[in-house]
């Protein structure tokens, strides 16, 4: 009896603390190397929160082969349903409204053997609704407007992070292009010189004394 009361009061205190903590929105922007499957978990506190984010495949270490076709991205809700599924892409944005609160799983799947580095950004945004306003007397209707403004600014920041990740990918591509140009061209020259030297040696052999009387 006492335990359930304590649990309930602590839960209420937690909800209040979270509400008063200025409708925090979690911001995570990180890169992770995906060998096969890499999963990242993010907790969504309220049902109906907008979860938005983006991811970009940044690495470009493949030198000799053709470029990587892309990775798969899956979002699983705490109930086990697939909320979002993007296949074979080198980067995309996503946004969905969380159907329930709980731990959401964001998984990247790399179907090929070359490891890829994925830079991702996940943002959980909460705008207090009428229900929250009624629950807590500290909340002003202006807080709703401020939360909306914050979410709008967050979307700009998210876009910037996406552009930054894309820029990193382009930089890797440029580096790779530069390396390929230099190495392939120098290799081409050496190969050309080698083949012509081989040609000369072969022709000389054709006309050499020991073989000439038998063949040419």
């Amino acid at each position: 009896m006492e335990q359930t009361q304590w649990k309930r009061s602590s839960k209420m205190w937690m909800v209040l603390a979270c509400l008063m903590m200025s409708f925090f929105s979690s911001i995570e922007s990180l890169s992770v190397t995906v060998n096969d499957v890499e999963c990242v978990y993010e907790y969504v506190l309220y049902e109906g929160d907008t979860v938005s984010g983006n991811f970009v495949v940044v690495d470009h270490d493949i030198f000799w082969g053709s470029d990587h076709p892309g990775i798969d991205f899956t979002v699983t809700s705490p109930a086990g349903n697939t909320v979002n599924n993007i296949k074979g892409t080198s980067g995309d944005k996503f946004q969905f409204k969380a159907p329930t609160h709980g731990m959401y799983k964001f998984c990247f799947h790399n179907p090929h053997s070359t490891p890829e580095t994925v830079s991702f950004y996940i943002h959980v945004g909460h705008i207090p609704s009428e229900h929250d306003l009624a629950k807590d007397e500290h909340l002003d209707p202006i807080n709703v407007k401020i939360a909306e403004l914050r979410e709008a600014l967050e979307s700009v920041t998210a876009e910037q992070k996406y552009l930054k990740a894309r820029d990193a990918r382009h930089r890797h591509t440029n580096e790779s292009t530069r390396k390929r140009v230099v190495f392939y061209t120098v290799g081409e020259y050496l190969l050309l010189a080698g083949v012509s030297a081989l040609q000369v040696i072969y022709i000389r052999r054709l006309f050499s004394k020991s073989v000439a009387y038998n063949r040419v």
């Binding site: 602590s10 839960k11 937690m14 603390a17 979270c18 903590m21 200025s22 925090f24 979690s26 911001i27 995570e28 922007s29 990180l30 890169s31 992770v32 190397t33 999963c39 990242v40 978990y41 993010e42 907790y43 506190l45 705490p78 086990g80 709980g102 731990m103 830079s119 996940i122 959980v124 002003d140 202006i142 807080n143 401020i146 403004l149 914050r150 600014l153 967050e154 700009v156 920041t157 910037q160 552009l163 930054k164 820029d167 930089r171 440029n174 580096e175 292009t177 530069r178 140009v181 230099v182 061209t185 020259y189 050309l192 010189a193 012509s196 040609q199 000369v200 022709i203 000389r204 006309f207």
Partner: protein, 217 residues
């Protein structure tokens, strides 16, 4: 059956996490699973002079057969390889640093002792404006409530503007590299033609000399 067990474990871990949150008063973090062997690394490209604040803890499972205290080891390195923070066998911790150089900062986790199951670690990684301590600002300037919120929004707008300027500089750098590569491609192609002609001429000259020597022409 195993999936049900796993979801039950996850749910119990989640309630534990919620209770933890009331005492820490921290915002959320992402959870990573550390494999039993090998390291799990997360990285971020950070400019110089940016404050980085991070909190991590091992997410405990209630259903634990051996009642072990799971520990994790981690190492944070700067782009030049300097060791910024290293801890072995800890359950929770926190580190903060100001980035000296711009580049990729890496945080790697691994399991030191033998564990049968992969471990879940919660990492709260904040850079730049998210790392700002608003409580001290509020206390110092004696602002609160709506004014504090507006101050936060102002800081967010400033961060957006700084990011934009940074992106402009990066774009200028990349444009230079692209144009250099473009010039290289053109120059190398023409040179390849030159090398071809040169090598052909050398061949002809050498063979002519050889045949003349051999009295064949």
């Amino acid at each position: 059956m195993e999936k049900n067990n796993h979801t039950k474990q996850l749910r119990s871990a989640t309630t534990f996490l919620l209770l933890w949150l009331t005492f820490i008063g921290e915002s959320q973090a992402i959870w990573l699973t550390i494999p039993t062997s090998g390291t799990k690394c997360v990285s971020e490209e950070i400019q110089s002079n940016v404050v980085v604040l991070a909190d991590y803890y091992v997410v405990a499972d209630e259903v634990d057969h051996h009642h072990q205290i799971h520990t994790v080891s981690l190492k944070v390195t700067s782009p030049y390889g300097n060791n910024l923070h290293q801890k072995e066998n800890v359950t929770h911790g926190q580190f903060a640093f100001t980035s000296a150089e711009s580049g990729t900062y890496l945080a790697c986790f691994w399991l030191q002792n033998k564990h049968e199951q992969p471990l879940t670690v919660s990492l709260d990684w904040r850079t730049g404006i998210s790392a700002k301590d608003w409580e001290t600002v509020a206390k110092k300037e004696k602002i609160e409530g709506v004014e504090l919120e507006l101050r936060k929004l102002e800081a967010a707008v400033e961060a957006i503007r700084e990011n934009l300027i940074y992106m402009k500089e990066r774009e200028a750098d990349m444009r230079e590299v692209s144009e250099a590569t473009n010039a290289k491609v053109a120059w190398f192609s023409i040179m390849s033609l030159g090398v071809c002609i040169l090598v052909g001429a050398l061949q002809l000259w050498h063979l002519k000399r050889y045949f003349r020597k051999k009295k064949l022409i």
